[in-house]
């Protein structure tokens, strides 16, 4: 039993089930990120934890207490909203202590909590301002401060960074991470941004169409995606998905892909059980950073395969250079060092780290597990 238990929870609107049997146990101090495209049910799940939406079936429990029918204010949770939801008519200080006031906390204690938290978040100089006078980043801090003063069991974040500009978003991301490391609070965080999910979380639940597609640590999710959806959703640029055939060369399974001229190339698999798929079609998943120039290849890898192919487009992005090629009729992207010398039209020897390659069943779209 975890600190926050979501057991077999479903949600239906009338006859339409929008969330299907979600089962997640969150440990104390964990930072769980729910990530997925819009409409995947992540916000619905968060609202159900908060008590803002009813639970159709299943249980949600905090510290072993089932809270299905407990009013939001009695669940000992706090929530940071996408729009921050700061009360426009109240000062920052009043905003932050409103919850304590509603819970009947004496004024002296409220002020003590306010002083502590506002100092922690470095907003103590803003307490008398109205939300309308604050910048986006300041509002974000106040919204977090309002959650922190409550000292709740669980923090809920609903896409808190999506209203900030790109630079501020990165700064606040770091800020939230620092805060979590310092306070060791339990957090459930909803986002559609997979980078936020990767950087912040201790565990990620990738959701799509009302199902939890995969639950695991960021590394598990990134390296061993359990299906095609997770593979393509997490990571930017997205994982290359290339139609391939399993060919046995010297009794070892290889992925047979076509180069730009339609000539077959063979890349040796690390995964022995793919022999069962000999002669069959699969989908080969290779992340862009796994295809490099030979000098940039991972030296620790035991399985670097060479791939000769023509370059279509190069996109220098400062820190990296993205190189596009055609593989089995599809565009595939390679992520090279910034100073790699490649030019469009050139035929180049790429190095593919097949240790990191994954294979998917094209019918079920599930990963073929080793």
């Amino acid at each position: 039993m975890g600190f926050l238990d979501i057991r077999n929870v479903t949600k239906s609107y009338g006859a339409v089930e929008v969330l299907h049997r979600v089962d997640i146990a969150v440990e104390e101090g964990e930072f769980l990120v729910l990530v997925g495209p819009s409409g995947c049910g992540k916000s619905t799940l968060l609202n159900m934890i908060a008590g803002l939406e009813g639970i159709t079936s299943g249980d949600i429990a905090i510290k072993g207490r089932v809270i299905n029918n407990v009013h939001p204010s009695k669940r000992n949770i706090a929530m940071v909203f996408q729009s921050y939801a700061l009360y426009p008519n109240m000062t920052v200080g009043q905003n932050m202590t409103f919850g304590l006031e509603m819970h009947g906390v004496p004024k002296l204690e409220r002020e003590k909590a306010l002083a502590e938290v506002s100092k922690l978040l470095q907003i103590d100089h803003l307490l008398d301002r109205k939300p309308g006078q604050l910048s986006g980043g300041q509002r974000q801090r106040v919204a977090m401060g309002r959650a922190l003063v409550r000292d709740p069991d669980v923090f809920l974040f609903d896409e808190p960074l999506s209203n900030l500009d790109a630079k501020l978003r990165v700064d606040m991301r770091t800020e939230i991470k620092k805060l979590h490391q310092k306070l060791k609070t339990t957090i459930v965080y909803v986002t559609h941004d997979q980078i936020e999910a990767m950087t912040l979380s201790t565990r990620i639940a990738v959701m799509n169409k009302g199902y939890v597609q995969q639950l695991g640590t960021p590394k598990e999710i990134y390296d061993t995606p359990s299906n095609l959806f997770v593979a393509t959703f997490m990571g930017s640029p997205a994982m290359n998905i290339i139609p391939a055939k399993v060919a046995m060369v010297n009794g070892v399974p290889h992925a047979e892909v076509m180069d730009a001229d339609g000539k077959p190339c063979h890349l040796r698999f690390d995964q022995a059980n793919l022999a069962d798929w000999a002669g069959k079609e699969i989908l080969l998943g290779i992340r862009p950073e796994v295809i490099t120039d030979p000098e940039g290849a991972d030296r620790a890898s035991r399985n670097i395969q060479s791939l000769r192919n023509r370059v279509t487009v190069t996109e220098p992005a400062g820190s990296d250079t993205f190189v596009t090629m055609t593989l089995s009729g599809k565009d595939a992207i390679a992520r090279m060092r910034a100073d790699a010398t490649v030019a469009p039209g050139q035929v180049f020897d790429f190095a593919v780290n097949m240790e990191k390659a994954v294979a998917f069943d094209p019918k079920t779209e599930e990963r073929i597990r080793p």
Partner: protein
């Protein structure tokens, strides 16, 4: 030219512009003329009206017609002037506006922030009630007011105006609160505020503009109402009904100057509201027409 402007980007030539200004001024004259005539002739002795030009400024300025209209003119059978009817209107308007605005605010709050199955049907029913021809309810309303003992009384008129006003006030507040982020209500719920606390502490403090719109709209509508006043007013007739009586009384000489003064008195409260808070007045009109 780089300044941000609300105006159109269409450009017009000199001749066109002159033409446009002429048309605009002619229409300004058209709208001002009847009111100008009323004002000018309300401060003339009667002889100057019957014997002179209605456009001419008075040769003898007098406030006597105003005094008569206010306190001595024959309205119906009694020479009471319009004052008691003005008071009737005031006593009717103030509570009716206050009640319908408060009810509308609560309704709008429920219909946007505490939605439940079927709420939009209920709202549709309330909204349609704004647009019915009130002739359809005259007969049963007269019966019911009679049964309740409210016929011909100010409380009866208040009831009528509240009942047929909440459709509009609900519409105003609903549209206004619909644009108010629901996340704020959710945040307040998690903070532990209840239904009325959220309304009182979160919604109401930001409702200033729409309260003004609703109050102005209701005030104008109720003050200007004639049909309900003449049907259910009895001995407590409002200003509009009294003005109509004054103007159409068939006894004696038609004292036009007194009629003019009376008409301006009847128009004054809403005109003042319009002059003081025209912006909100227009917003009310728009919100009542373009169901945003």
């Amino acid at each position: 030219m780089s300044a941000v402007t609300q105006d159109t980007a269409v450009r017009t030539g000199r001749i066109t512009r002159t033409f446009i200004y002429v048309v605009l001024l002619v229409f300004a004259l058209f709208y001002l003329l009847p009111f100008f005539v009323m004002v000018v002739n309300s401060v003339k002795p009667l002889s100057e009206i019957t014997g002179g030009n209605m456009m001419a400024l008075p040769q003898v300025w007098t406030l006597e017609p105003w005094r008569q209209a206010w306190s001595t003119a024959q309205v119906g059978v009694e020479p009471t002037g319009l004052r008691p009817y003005f008071m009737n209107s005031v006593m009717m308007v103030v509570p009716a506006v206050a009640i319908s605005t408060v009810v509308g605010a609560l309704n709008g709050y429920v219909l946007t922030k505490w939605r439940f199955r079927g709420d939009s049907i209920l709202f549709g029913l309330m909204l349609f009630s704004c647009f019915i021809p009130f002739q359809i309810v005259l007969i049963p309303m007269a019966r019911l007011l009679g049964l309740m003992g409210l016929a011909g009384s100010v409380p009866g008129l208040i009831l009528v105006h509240v009942v047929y006003g909440i459709g509009f006030t609900t519409l105003y507040f609903r549209n206004y609160y619909a644009a108010f982020p629901t996340e704020l209500v959710r945040a307040a719920m998690i903070d532990g505020a209840g239904f009325f606390q959220i309304f009182w502490r979160i919604m109401l403090p930001v409702s200033g503009p729409i309260i003004v719109v609703s109050v102005i709209w209701q005030f104008t509508n109720i003050w200007n109402d004639f049909l309900f006043g003449v049907s259910f007013g009895g001995t407590s007739q409002p200003m509009t009904a009294a003005l109509n009586n004054l103007v159409n009384s068939s006894t004696g000489v038609k004292e036009y100057n007194v009629h003019f003064a009376g008409a301006i008195l009847a128009a004054l409260p809403t005109l003042i509201v319009y002059i003081v808070a025209g912006r909100y007045f227009v917003r009310g009109l728009m919100a009542g027409s373009v169901k945003g």
